[in-house]
């Protein structure tokens, strides 16, 4: 089990290292400084946008849940409390 984990971690590390050497994107090795900068900028942009969206959503939901918890409880309407007939639990 420990060996499997060790092998999996080593494989993951190797994959991360290999991706760096692959130069799959033509912009990575571009001699144009402006192009390389644009590649770096867009990589940062595309990494941050989903993180910001998810973070923003979680923050908003947490705020909304807190506001709902702090809001006074709405009383159950009388129509729901009355006897529902033969199978009513209250009877």
């Amino acid at each position: 089990m420990r060996l499997t984990r060790l092998c999996a971690s080593a494989l993951l590390l190797w994959a991360a290292w290999a991706a760096d050497l692959a130069y799959a994107c033509p912009s990575c090795a571009s001699p144009l400084e402006e192009n390389r900068q644009a590649f770096v900028d867009t990589t940062i942009f595309l990494t941050l946008v989903p993180l910001m969206m998810m973070g923003g959503f979680i923050w908003w939901v947490r705020r909304r849940i807190r506001a709902m918890d702090e809001a006074p409880e709405i009383p159950v309407p009388e129509s729901l409390l009355r006897d529902a007939g033969r199978f009513s639990k209250g009877g």
């Binding site: 946008v49 989903p50 909304r64 709902m68 159950v76 639990k89």
Partner: protein, 196 residues
């Protein structure tokens, strides 16, 4: 009727109100994917622009109508503002809702028509999808947005019909607004990147 430990009557399930309606959640997830779609397109455009030989815009290509599109941008932004006020009026059940929603739809329609006219003029000048990098990116980016505007326009027409029939609820109106705000919000970014 006996009460439970919290003082609630037995037999009545303690149901918690949803944090947000299903329609709103669905639309938010959809808009998130759309934001990533446009982010990818804009990123590709930025890299393509920086890689262009001979500067940007490429020489020998028609110029994009910056001033005319600024007017069109203002119309689309005004449409978003009109929808915001339509929602405020809707919350108060004000009769102004219909007028403001119609104004938002009208401004959205103006944007689509104006852009259509702009495209016709650009095609006549020789800017097509295959005329070069500028044309390819322009029609891909602006065309994708235009498709979204048309979809949003149809959604707003649907909400207007529901409002006219007197059966528009906030669970229908909110998702429609989210989509339209997205369409309005993404346009200034496209205008800044593509036209300026």
């Amino acid at each position: 009727m006996p009460d439970d430990a919290l003082g609630r009557p037995y037999g009545v399930p303690a149901r918690r109100a949803p944090v947000l309606p299903n329609g709103v959640l669905g639309m938010l997830i959809f808009v998130a994917t759309e934001i990533m779609f446009f982010s990818g397109l804009i990123s590709a455009f930025v890299i393509g622009k920086s890689n262009a030989v001979g500067g940007w815009p490429p020489p020998g290509q028609p110029r994009l109508p910056v001033e005319e599109t600024a007017l069109n941008t203002a119309a689309l932004l005004a449409s978003g503002v009109a929808l915001y006020f339509a929602n405020r009026a809707f919350k108060k059940s004000s009769p102004n809702t219909k007028r403001l929603l119609l104004l938002a739809i009208g401004l959205g329609g103006f944007f689509v028509l104006f852009q259509g006219a702009e495209w016709v003029a650009l095609i006549r000048e020789g800017l097509t999808l295959t005329s070069g990098q500028l044309g390819g990116f322009f029609y891909l980016l602006v065309g994708s947005h235009a498709l979204h505007v048309v979809a949003g326009f149809i959604i707003l027409l649907y909400t207007y019909r529901r409002l006219s029939e007197g059966n528009l609820d906030r669970f229908t109106f909110w998702p429609a607004q989210i989509f339209w705000y997205f369409v309005v919000g993404v346009w200034p970014v496209l205008y800044w990147q593509v036209y300026l």
